[in-house]
Structures are given as structure tokens and as C-alpha cells.
Amino acid sequence: MNDFAVKNSHTLTQYDIEKLLRQFGGKETDYVEIVDVEKNRKTIEKYPLLNDIALATTQTQSTKKINKNAIKNHK
């Protein structure tokens, strides 16, 4: 059920932007990037080729992290 009492707008007011900046912005960052992570995840899952590439790139990154940790531990 829609909650019509809640303002449902895609256009952010200056107040919204300042609130987001206070919440998520860095000390020297004057913008906030809003990413629909859930939508991206669904897109990747929807198309098998995209899924394969996402898995391969994630695995490469995690392998690199593991390797870095291994080097640190070795030292």
C-alpha cells in the first residue's frame, strides 16, 4: 500500500541535499552520488553474461586481496 502521507519525489530539495551531505559526504566532498545498488544487482543477475563478468571481476579482486594479505603475513 502506498503511503501518500510521505512525500514521494525524485527531485531533492536543498534541505535534502544538505542532509545527505551531512550524513554521507566527506569532509572535502561537495557532492553525493546516489547509487541504486539493488537495481544494479538485479540487472547483473538478470543477464547471464553480465553475471559471469561480475563474478570473474569480483573473484579477481578477492584473489588480489588474499594475495596482499598473504604477502603481509609472510612479511
Binding site: 547509487v35 541504486d36 537495481k39 544494479n40 540487472t43 538478470k46 543477464y47 553474461l49 553480465l50 563478468i53
Partner: protein, 240 residues
């Protein structure tokens, strides 16, 4: 001197159309603009009003000084050098790129190189002031190529500015819409603008012209002006 290299990540991405339209958009600022065709299958000259019968270009000459005979100027004032019919093996694309520095008549001049899709970015001698645009279309193959490219760029420790530019975007397609949204938020090096698919681009070529002259109020024209403005900001970042 500002050097922009444009290359399709695969064949048929519409790189030559972008080069021709971008050259004319930049030329509106009354700065010298040179467009050099490095692609034997590009036919950049046809976009800029060169006669169909014209066969000669830089690849038909033994050296740059003689190849300069083949510079043409379109109605907007863009100076362009066609590829030609490859009847002389004296010049290769690297020496043409290097030799173009001799034409550098102003700090504000722009050199646009239409690069063939099959020649890898690492074969170009690029410096930190250069901007390399790799043209992609909203499809799964370009998605795959873009991630492969990111891997090679990481290994090469590239010093130039490298971007992926989306061309022929069709907002009515669900797949393209999905991919563009994904790229804009998750693909590193994606340019923050894209070129919409617009019949005007094809029609303009049929009229041996560019969108700016054939349909100045078209979406395509807006897109190329936005691209030109963005490149000015990228290039001025180098000057700082």
C-alpha cells in the same frame, strides 16, 4: 595543442560519425580543429563533404610534407586529412600522429584522431595531456570488452586520460537502459555523458554533412555540443 584519440572498442560503434560531428562542434568556438583519419575503413572525408571519387590520402605519400597536400577544409573550417588508398608504405599511423605536431599553430588547436578499432590503445604513443575516448555501444559485447580493457589499463599504468563514451544509446531498449544505468554507477572511467541514437546522424551523412548543419535543434546536435564542452573542461584540467 589538444589531442583527442577516438577508437571503437569494437567495429561499427560509430566512431567516425563522432569525430566528424565533434570536430564541427569544437570549430564553433573559432579555434583551429584538425581531424586525422587513421582508419582505412573510416571514410571520415565523406562526413565532411569530400567527393566520393576522391581516393588519395596520407597513406598514398612517402612522407608527411608531401601528404600535407591532402589536407582539405570543410565548410565549417575543419581541416581534415583522409586516410587514402594505402598505395605507399612510407608512412604509418605513428609517424602521422607525431608529424601533426608540426601543424600546431596555436595552443588552442584541437587534433582529433579517428583510430581504427583493431589497433590496440597501447600501440599509440600517448602522453599525460592526451585524452583517449573508447567508444562503446550499450550491448553485452561492449560490456565484456570494457572490463577486459580495464584489466589491461591497470597493468599498463596509463598516464593519459582514458574514458569510455557510450554512443547510439536507445532509451527505448530495456537492455540498453539497464546497461547504461549499471555503467554510469559501476563502470570505472565511463564518461558522464552519452550520445543518443538519432536518425539525424545517418541522414546528415547521406547529405555529406554533419548534424550541426543539417539539424541544429536535434538531440544529436545537443549531445555533440555537450561532448565538446566536456572535452574542453577535461583538456583545461591538463592546462592547470
Amino acid at each position: 595543442m589538444k589531442r583527442i584519440f577516438l577508437k571503437g572498442i569494437k567495429g561499427g560503434t560509430g566512431t567516425t560519425s563522432i569525430v566528424a560531428n565533434l570536430a564541427c562542434a569544437l570549430r564553433k568556438s573559432n579555434v583551429p580543429v584538425y581531424a586525422i583519419d587513421l582508419d582505412p575503413k573510416g571514410d571520415l572525408g565523406l562526413h565532411l563533404g569530400l567527393a566520393w571519387e576522391h581516393q588519395l590520402g596520407w597513406s598514398d605519400y612517402p612522407n608527411f610534407a608531401s601528404a600535407c597536400e591532402q589536407f582539405h577544409q570543410d565548410n565549417d573550417g575543419v581541416k581534415f586529412l583522409p586516410y587514402g588508398s594505402h598505395s605507399n608504405l612510407g608512412l604509418d599511423f605513428s609517424s602521422i600522429i607525431e608529424s601533426c605536431q608540426q601543424l600546431n599553430d596555436s595552443d588552442d588547436s584541437w587534433f582529433l584522431f579517428d583510430c581504427p578499432a583493431h589497433v590496440d590503445v597501447h600501440r599509440y604513443s600517448l602522453n599525460e595531456d592526451d585524452i583517449f575516448l573508447e567508444i562503446i555501444n550499450c550491448d553485452a559485447i561492449c560490456h565484456s570488452f570494457a572490463f577486459k580493457r580495464l584489466n589491461t589499463l591497470k597493468q599498463a599504468e596509463s598516464s593519459w586520460q582514458h574514458y569510455f563514451l557510450t554512443n547510439k544509446y536507445n532509451s527505448a531498449s530495456e537492455l540498453e537502459s539497464d546497461l547504461l544505468q549499471l555503467w554510469q554507477t559501476e563502470l570505472p572511467l565511463i564518461a558522464p555523458l552519452y550520445i543518443n541514437k538519432d536518425e539525424v546522424i545517418k541522414e546528415a551523412t547521406a547529405f555529406r554533412n554533419v548534424a550541426i548543419n543539417c539539424a541544429p535543434y536535434s538531440v544529436a546536435n545537443d549531445d555533440f555540443e555537450t561532448l565538446a564542452g566536456w572535452l574542453v573542461s577535461r583538456a583545461s584540467q591538463n592546462d592547470q
